[in-house]
Assembly symmetry: C2
Homo-oligomer: 230 residues x 2
């Protein structure tokens, strides 16, 4: 298999024989100075088994999303090899964010208190560009830069709202309150939009019943236990 | 007179006897390392006569705006004292930006070429917060932070489009192509919106007939000459 793209926590591989595409879940975690943080843009370290945990959780949630009628790029998982088979889509360098409460960088950016509720949820779109600190980007600039076609921006925001409902309910069943999360989207030649990338503690911030915010490693352990029990 | 607020290029003064409010145009100019730049957040130096030039230009353009039916905070100018008398309004810490072409920080932020045209013009709103680098802010966060009331965000964007038309035409008459500019708005107790602050080369970026972008000091000289001839 050929590595098409090397990411911080995942690589994209292609089987050149049949054209199939795979995500390889790595053991690296984002963070800084030894503190893990899903919102960070740098790799904070490596945790044995993190890749496998992320793949098991992704498999669980992608299958749940498909069951709820949400189109995803998920085609199957080989847990032993840390590989997820996915649809071959165009994936723009964008992140779609949905917030149920204020938290993290947005509080610093706008001098807002942590934990203020958004109802309806608050959505934002950022350009994936580490050097520029993932700036907020508008629909018009996405189209100008050729990242999205007309209408896709709004469609992706509708998709993240649907994803949010499923995710929030499922995490609540596990005793976790969803604060915010980010997704990536991809589209096929016909312009159909799919939920892509991963669904793991790397994409969200949650609060547990004691009001604590577990980092992505700790949250992975909590979820894995729940999934194994289910 | 009491100084209510000390800004980088202007102070806000209040005559406590009658409650009237004034802007004092100072000789300082924004920029960095000795290079003047209206987009900068720091004071780059002082230029004798800059305050007076800014006031003369503001007087000219505010009177032009009023003639075109655009409500402004302008009530008169005392050129000798570098003072502009203004309406006493609520002025949220926001900047409304209109772009006819890509330029400057937006090109760096989104890896865009300089000089790509926007038609219709492109508008953005930023929070005035030097420490956070004046982040882009949405209507919803403006309302959440109590900066604007419902509807004012859209109304202000309509105002800047009207201001842009007048400004663009007038600068074109002076041989200058307007690239982008920023305004501030204020509102009275009834929620009526006014164009406030200043209208000087500190608020815009222009291109001259040779394709050069004059800094705000040079541009001030060009305009002063034209205004004195008129």
């Amino acid at each position: 298999m050929k590595t098409l793209y090397e990411g911080k926590t995942k690589n994209v591989l292609k089987n050149e024989a049949d054209g199939s595409v795979y995500l390889l879940f790595k053991d690296s975690a984002t963070g800084e100075n030894g503190v893990f943080d899903p919102g960070s843009n740098s790799v904070g370290g490596s945790v044995e088994g993190k890749g496998k945990t992320g793949l098991i959780i992704s498999k669980y949630f992608f299958e749940l999303m498909e069951k709820k009628g949400i189109p995803t790029h998920y085609l199957g998982a080989d847990i032993e090899k840390n590989l997820m088979k996915v649809r071959n889509l165009t994936v723009p360098k964008l992140e779609f964010i949905l917030r149920y409460y204020t938290a993290g960088s947005m509080c610093r950016r706008f001098s807002l208190e942590e934990g203020l509720p958004f109802d309806p949820p608050y959505t934002e779109v950022t350009l994936k560009d580490d050097a520029q600190g993932d700036p907020l980007i508008s629909e018009r600039l996405c189209i100008m830069k050729g990242l999205l076609r007309e209408g896709m921006y709004e469609e992706a925001l509708k998709l993240i709202e649907r994803v949010g409902k499923v995710l929030r309910e499922e995490l609540a069943n596990m005793g976790l309150t969803l604060i915010d999360f980010k997704i990536e989207i991809g589209y096929d030649q016909n312009g159909k939009i799919y939920l892509v990338d991963e669904i793991t503690p790397d994409i969200w911030r949650v609060r547990d019943k004691d009001g604590r915010i577990p980092d992505q490693i700790e949250c992975g352990k909590i979820l894995l236990e729940r999934i194994n029990k289910a």
